[in-house]
Structure formats: C-alpha cells, structure tokens
Amino acid sequence: MVGTILKKEIKRMGKQKAIYFWTFGLPILFIVVFSSIFGNTNYSFNIHFVDQDHSEASNTFLKSIDKIDSFDTKKEVSVKNAVKQLSDGKIQTLIVIPKGFGDSLSRGNQTSVHFYYDGTQGEAQAVAPVKSLLDNLSNGYREHKIEQIVSMQTKDSQKTKDMLASPLQIQDKKIIAKKVNAVTQIVPGYTVMFVFFIIITMARTFMQDRESGMLSRLFSTPMNRFHYMIGMWIPNVILVLVQITVLLTFGHFVYNLHIGNFGAIALLSVLLSLAGTSLGLLVAFVAKSEQMAIGITQLVTLGGAALGGLWVPLELMPKAIQTTAHFLPQYWAHKAFMDIMARGRDIAHIVPALLYLGIFTLICISLAAVAYKGFVKGATS
C-alpha cells in the first residue's frame, strides 16, 4: 500500500514543473550569483599609469609594482585622458611618472611620482591598498639611499644590514586548510538552506489532498491511515536526496568543490533529508492553512540560515547567536559538510552532527504522528 502511494506521488512530482524550479533552479541560481560575488579568489587592484619619462628607472619602478600578485598596471595614453576617466569614475587610481624621473634618481636628487585617486568615500577600499603600496615603494627607495650612505661609512655590507635591520620581525607561517575558499562555504550553505524549502512543497501537497477530498476518499479504501503518511513522506526524502546530489555535483564540476569522504557525505545527506522532510510533515499537519505553512517555512529556512551560519561564518556572529546555532539542524548539517569537504574528515568525526539530525528527525516524526490525528479529523469531518 505504501508502495502504491509512493509510486503515484513520484509520478505526480515528476509532472510538477514548479518543483524543478524550487528544488534545483533557484538554489543553483543562488550558488552561481553568490559564488560569482564572493568566490573570485584572484581579485587584483588595477593601477593606471602614464610614463612621461620612458627611462630605465621608470620601467624598474613599474615592474616592481607588477611583481606583486594583487596589483596590475594598466598603461594610459595621456594624463588628460586618464584624469577624465578618473573624474567619470571609470578608474580609481592613476600614477604619473614625470619627465626627468630617472635623471633625478641617478643624481641622487629628490623626485616625485604623482598619485591621482578617486576621493569618493565609497572607493576608499580600492584606493587605500594602492596608496599603501606606493608608500612602501617610496620607503624602499629611502632605505636603499640610507643603506648606500651607511655602507660607505662601514665598508661592510653585513654590518650595514645588521645595523639597519628592524627590531621587529614578522615571520609568515602559512597553514593551508584543504581546498577552502568561498565556494566551500557557499555550495553546502545554500544546499542546506534550500533543503528546508521542501516544507512548503510538503505542506501544500498534504493540504491539497485534505481540501480536495482526496484524503477522505483514500480513507474509504482498505489503505491504513499511516500508510498514507509514510507513502507521501518517502518521495519527499528521495526528492531532497536528489536535490543535495545535484547541487553538490554542480558545485564539484563547475566550481571544483572538493567533496571529501563519499560515505560521510552520503550518510549526512540521508540524515539531512530525513530531518528536513520530517519537519515538513510536522508543519503540514500543524499549520491551519497554506499561508501559515509558508510563514513557518520562511521563518525556519531564512532564520535558520542566518542563525546557523549558512550565509556568514559563525565566527563573525555575536556569542549569543553562536550558542543559539547549536540548537539548529542547519548549523550541524553545514558544519558537518564543511568538516568533510574542507577538513577531510570522515564519518567518525561527524558523529555529533549525525546524532543531532537523527534525534531531530525522531522528535519531528513523533510530534507529526500526534498532529496527524487532528489533520485526519479535519479531512473526514
């Protein structure tokens, strides 16, 4: 009997075009948009320049900028034209190397490089790093000059270096987490968020069956009442599993998302599907109307996403929200996905998340079974 309802429901779902959009289309759109905004790890600052000197010294100066990963130089035809572009907001920074730059340097005279920038407050983020870079370069020239003077006195290059060494040394120690980038946060984040949108689909289906008289008619057949509940639940579990698979596969092939331990991902996906759909059952049986169900779903999905760290890393949130997150299935599911994908963890390391999702499912199913009696009563009276 469960199989009959399950088969019918899968067939019915397959003919609902809206399901494809809400389950696959919209999440993929979100992933693409947010990955495009935050997922670009090769971001660099463009520095436009006009070289009026054309000397070896000016060329060396520009090359020293190009050597730095995050900065690219772009040649402009004339100062007038470049300043016009800056005024129009088309470029944010411009340096002009004046004629005689090389000569002045070789003679040890002071010279200058003109730095034009967009003074609008909103562009400060693009200007500040360039200004800082230019200050550093200027300091480099100054240090080089001091080093030459001191060296002439000491006649010992090592001694000169020791004398000019800064008392504070910053030692870089780079630790690379496996494949961590913005996409590692975005893909599982939006996957977890959209899993819970199944609640609307489920509530709508159950309510339509009740309002249309389908549920009442089914109760005139030999079908057990709980067979209906289970038969309608399982197709949604399958749908969510397919949804997770499609979204993670999309992330893997389009954004090189590292999937990690397959067994752990599979088990986590099953438990997440059960958790999301069991909450869907509960909402469908408790909500008095479709509008109420949509309201609850928005609260669960958007509230859960914000508080569960799906949009913004939880470390950036206030302490109280970090504590609250521990009560949300979204937090545990997302944390487990991150552990598997970014930190290479296996099933043993995500047991707390699996336990949480399992217990959450059991609680929701138990409450749904109680609420189901009232739902059925509404259908038959």
Binding site: T4, K8, K11, R12, S216, R217, F219, S220, P222, T380
Partner: protein, 303 residues
Amino acid sequence: MIEILNVKKHYGKIEALKGVSFSISEGTCFGLIGPNGAGKSTMMKILSGILQDYEGDVHLFNQNAKSDSKEIKSKMGYVPQDIVLNETLSAKDNLSFFGSLYGLKGAALKERVEEVLKLVGLNDRGNDAIQKFSGGMKRRINIGCALLHLPNFLIMDEPTVGVDPHSRNYIFEIIHSLKKEGVTVLYSSHYMEEIENLCDYIALIDNGMVIEQGTVSDILSKYATPSLYVEATSVEESVLESYGNVLRKDGGYLIETKQPLSTLHSLSKKLQQNGNDVHRLEISKPNLEDVFLQLTGKSLRDV
C-alpha cells in the same frame, strides 16, 4: 444486507444524525434524499468507513463496520460528491492508482483499467491528463475509480452534479448495468427524476432524521394527493386556500385537491373574474419532490 441501526453523529455541538435507521437489500438501488445539510453525506461517510467515531450499529455483508472495516472496504466502492482525481496524471494512472489500493496489480490491473475505461466511455482518452477532460468526463473517471475492484456495494454521493446530458446518460447506463450485475447501490441526489428512475427504495432524510422510507411507488401513493399548479400575477394565497391545502412551489402555488378537474374549472373562472394574469394553470403529477415538500415544508434544492 446492509443495516443501519440508530446511528448518531455529532460535530461538536451540532447533531448531524439523530438516530438514523434503515436497511438496504442486496442487489437493489437505494436512494437517499434530503436537502443540503440533512445528513446524507455524513451517513455515506459512515457507510464508506471514512467516519468511524459515531454511535449506533452499522452492519455490511454481516460484518461490523467498525471492527471489520478493512475487509468491508475491500468489497465496496465510494464515489464522493467532489471530483477527486490527480489532475496532472492520466486517466489510466488515476485508475491504476485506485486499483492498486484495492490490491490489484500486474496484468489483472491493466485489464481492469481497460474494462473500466470502456465502461465509462473513455477508452480512447486513457493516456490523456485529467486536466484536459471536461467536467462530465472527469465525473465518469471519478466513478470509474470506484469500480476497478468490482465492488459488491457502491456508494454514490450526488454523482451527476454539474454534468452535461451526454455524461449524465452514460452515468445512468453504468448504474443500470451495475444493477444488472447484482451490485447494491446507495445513491444520493437532488434530482428527484433520477431517484425515481434509478432507485427501488428510498429514505427521505431531514435534520439528521429519516422521515419516511419505502419503495418509490409506495411513498408516492401514500403521500401524493392530486393537485393543481398555478402561477399568476397578483393572485392572493387566501383566494386559493378556498380550493384546498396550498403550498408554495417554484414561484407558484400547489393546491391539493381530491377533484382536480372540477377545481381546475372553477379556479380558471375565478382567476378570469379577478383579472389575474395567468402564466400556468395545470393538473400536477405528484412526484417525490412534492412529497418531500409536503412532509417537511422545504424544497430540496432551495434549503
């Protein structure tokens, strides 16, 4: 034999059924008549096993409706008042779904689906989605869904509401063929001519109580007194009362009289003398609707 004994049903403070009793013989078509809210659908939901929290006894096929519910349900079919189908699925898918719920599968299910499609006259539309069907065609599939498992007892709750004449005739043919096969039918409708044509026995139900039951002919001969029907402008009820008992009906008056011909003659004269503009003046053939009107003072469709 189907027996309903002193059945009571409450919806909160509302008493929908107040001790209803009647019985249905096997192989007959039994009509349940009453205005909206009389308790017909509640009675049908109890018989179909949808409602289980009621007082009283219901026995079908010598089994108790509550304790042997599953077994009884497998032998009966229920056609609800509303069209209850999956609109995006095809007619075949809908029929197969309901057939499967009654345990049919494989080749037997396929065969029955084809037979039922033929029975309801839609064998060339089996693969079309229900949403492409007319209201009448949907009604026929709605009935077909209750016939897949060859039920012994069929409950039909107003199956011809909003149906075109072509589909209505198809539905009547289906019921006649089921009767021939010995299927017991419980039929509810607002259309008295349907009840008179299809049903062998009837029960009139009002305010949750059976107010009369028996064969159609017995009830008609018991209650239907000869009468005149008159529709005229500015006619006063007090004038008509001098000819017999007067009841309002369909914008006119029904005058009960044992001598319809002579009353027709004298009333005709009177109306002419009074200068009334007469639209209709005729001897009325008594029907179930008149009986219902006589017993309850209510018209079946206006309540």
